[in-house]
């Protein structure tokens, strides 16, 4: 598994040392609040309603068990014993004391973890498919490329004070688990006719109040030219992005203002100057080294005529929690952190340690996090899946809800976030209470429900089968419902159902929507396909009729 070397760790410590000095100056009144805000955000620190939130990066969603234990220790030592796994390969702590931050970050740097650029107006942590390297028909494992790009934009002197945040994803698989077209910049790894690798680039996607699917800006950037290309995109954004209108800061507004073709031309003109600069070529030796570091640690396994245990509960859990692995003899196993009655993505320090022990025992001491706020064991031997299930079951972690509608994705909402217009987590819990029959849930199948407590869209409601957006009207909480958003095959923003619905009635509306789907679906048809066939009218009629 890839790990930071001595230089990388020294860099993390330098970063913490500097931030600690800035924090001390702020507390002593020797750094004004506005500048400190900009500085603390780029170190992952939010100052929230009740306390301070720290967002720690989990690059590409990969964790080793030593890191997971360190995250558990941080939860105990500096927080209230739990952490919140987010949809974007981060973990957040909600109850951090300011003077403790530097010590916390130092503890994390010892295991190669950090909070650098997890927030603020700079290049954020880059997301990759959590199943990178494990999927059969992948074009290429995206992670070595992500890592080279991440390093390049780590405290980049030219691009650290952008008009707004800048989020990137790189996908190397056929299906798009990263939702790259809702990122400021998404790269898809592709092969050209000559069989050479490169990137198709999509710029200007994003959710929020003005959701936009990022258009293709370049069909093929050769691998070795990717850094100069990205520099050109960022330079155009840095120099020409809106800074005057707070609602127009993201790059999507620049792309929209000029149109995709004109924007592509602007980037291309700048790129002509950097393309052939030998200093800006990707370091192919380093890439080869990273490919080795990220290579899968397991070899194909001959399990003879192994037959898995037959057990009804085990089989139910297996349906939605175990995926095929590229390497013979192995499975990918999902561990659902969404327990009924708890906040989605929350894990206690005890659970983290327990999961770390299990990953040592069953998964080569490695795990991954996903955008549905789960943990994944990437290397479980097929003949050990049953034993793992039994261990998970003992600890209440074999929830069979993953992949069903009861597995709701929700942002922190009004319970933790001072930007919220409405609660998220309690609605998720009400949905789980309403749909508590396992047979029914399996009959309904894999419908995604995502909830955001305000237009910032942290819960990714636009790209869910059923999306809920919290609003406030006359001091009352309402929810705008959107239907049939998707990203896997193509990227589509969910369609608005109609006027927003009061909090007390929103779970009824969800039930209505599910029922329309059940009444109308054809054999094996998923929600998005049924929606495409029957349109929005029957849903509208049932909910508002």
């Amino acid at each position: 598994m890839y790990q930071y070397n001595a230089d990388d760790t020294a860099f993390l410590v330098e970063r913490v040392d500097q931030f600690e000095k800035q924090l001390k100056r702020y507390l002593a009144g020797d750094l004004d609040a506005l500048k400190f805000r900009s500085l603390r955000l780029r170190n992952g620190l939010y100052m929230e309603l009740h306390a301070h939130m720290l967002r720690v990066a989990i690059p590409y969603g990969i964790l080793n068990t030593e890191q997971l234990r360190a995250l558990a220790d941080v939860a105990d030592k500096y927080d209230r014993g739990f952490g919140h796994f987010t949809t974007r390969q981060n973990i957040q702590y909600n109850w951090i004391e300011l003077p403790e931050i530097a010590n916390l970050l130092r503890d994390l740097s010892a295991v190669g973890l950090h909070a650098i650029q997890t927030s603020g107006k700079a290049m954020r942590n880059i997301t990759a498919d959590p199943f990178s390297g494990l999927t059969e028909d992948e074009v290429e494992d995206a992670r070595p490329y992500c890592e080279l790009v991440r390093r390049w934009f780590n405290i980049h002197p030219e691009f650290s004070w952008l008009p707004s945040k800048f989020k990137m994803a790189i996908n190397g698989a056929k299906l798009d688990e990263t939702a790259l077209q809702i990122h400021d910049l998404g790269l898809k790894i592709v092969k050209n006719d000559a069989g050479e690798l490169g990137f198709a680039s999509y710029v200007g996607g994003g959710l929020g109040a003005a959701p936009m699917v990022g258009p293709e800006i370049h069909p093929f950037v050769p691998v070795e030219d990717i850094l100069s290309y990205l520099e050109s995109v960022l330079r155009i954004y840095n120099l020409k992005g809106r800074r005057d209108n707070l609602k127009r800061l993201r790059i999507k507004f620049l792309v929209r203002e000029h149109g995709a073709a004109e924007f592509a031309k602007m980037v291309d003109e700048d790129w002509q100057h950097g393309k052939d600069d030998p200093e800006l070529k990707l370091n192919m030796e380093e890439l080869a080294k990273l490919k080795q570091d990220f290579a899968l640690p397991v070899k194909p396994l001959d399990l003879g005529d192994f037959k898995d245990t037959l057990d009804i509960n085990y089989s139910i859990w297996k349906t939605n929690n175990v995926r095929a692995h590229k390497i013979a003899g192995y499975s990918v196993v999902n561990i659902s952190l969404t327990q009924l009655g708890t906040a989605p993505g929350d894990a206690t320090s005890g659970q983290m340690r327990m999961i770390a022990d299990l990953a040592d025992k069953y998964s080569n001491s490695e795990l991954r996090t996903t955008k549905r706020q789960n943990l994944v064991f990437p290397y479980v031997r097929k003949d050990q899946v049953h034993a793992l299930w039994q261990d998970l079951d003992k600890s209440d972690l074999a929830s069979p809800h993953h992949g069903t509608l009861a597995h709701v994705v929700a942002c922190p909402g009004a319970d933790y976030c001072d930007l919220a217009k409405a609660v998220s987590i309690p609605i998720a819990q009400q949905v789980q209470q309403r749909f508590d029959d396992m047979d029914k849930l399996y009959d309904i199948g894999p419908i995604n429900i995502n909830i955001s407590g305000c237009e910032n869209s942290c819960g990714h409601h636009h790209i869910a089968d059923i999306g809920l957006l919290g609003l406030k009207k006359n001091e009352q909480e309402f929810y705008q419902i959107t239907l049939a958003g998707e990203t896997l095959q193509e990227t589509i923003i969910g369609r608005k159902l109609g006027r927003s619905i009061a909090g007390a009635e929103v779970v009824d509306a969800i039930e209505d929507i599910v029922n329309i789907y059940l009444e109308n679906r054809e054999e094996g048809e998923n929600f998005v396909d049924a929606f495409k066939r029957i349109g929005i009218a029957p849903f509208k009629e049932k909910v508002y009729g």
């Binding site: 500085l39 980049h156 002197p157």
Partner: protein, 146 residues
Amino acid sequence: MVEDSEIISVVNEQGKVIELLSVNEWVANVDSGVKSGKGVVVTPADDVGLLQESLHKIPLIALDFVSFDDGRGYSQATLIRKRWSYSGEIRGINAHLDQLQFMLRSGVNTYDLQEQYQGSNEHDYTHGFSICYQVAANNADMKEKF
């Protein structure tokens, strides 16, 4: 709209007072500007491309970092120093302590701070990082890792 900088002159490295013209003033009066030894002050909204043709005749370029979060000056400095190989003095005016290393790496070589702070050591912010992960106009004293 481009707003003019409030700063109209600086004292250069050699201790000489250099009066500053705006980008538009300079471009309209290159010859007289050169003759009278005037420099140019660049605000964040200025298009530095306008200076390219007469760049090497300018004795000093002052980049105004007037607002902490407005990072256009870093791209302007990179273009002037790295892409167009300007070898004269680039002065960061209204510079910010916490951004000094970013600014110096982008090609600024002298600076005037907007605000002084009592309890802090400038060196911590000009040399806070000893390791860097990317090419820049000036990576002096840093271990390059790319």
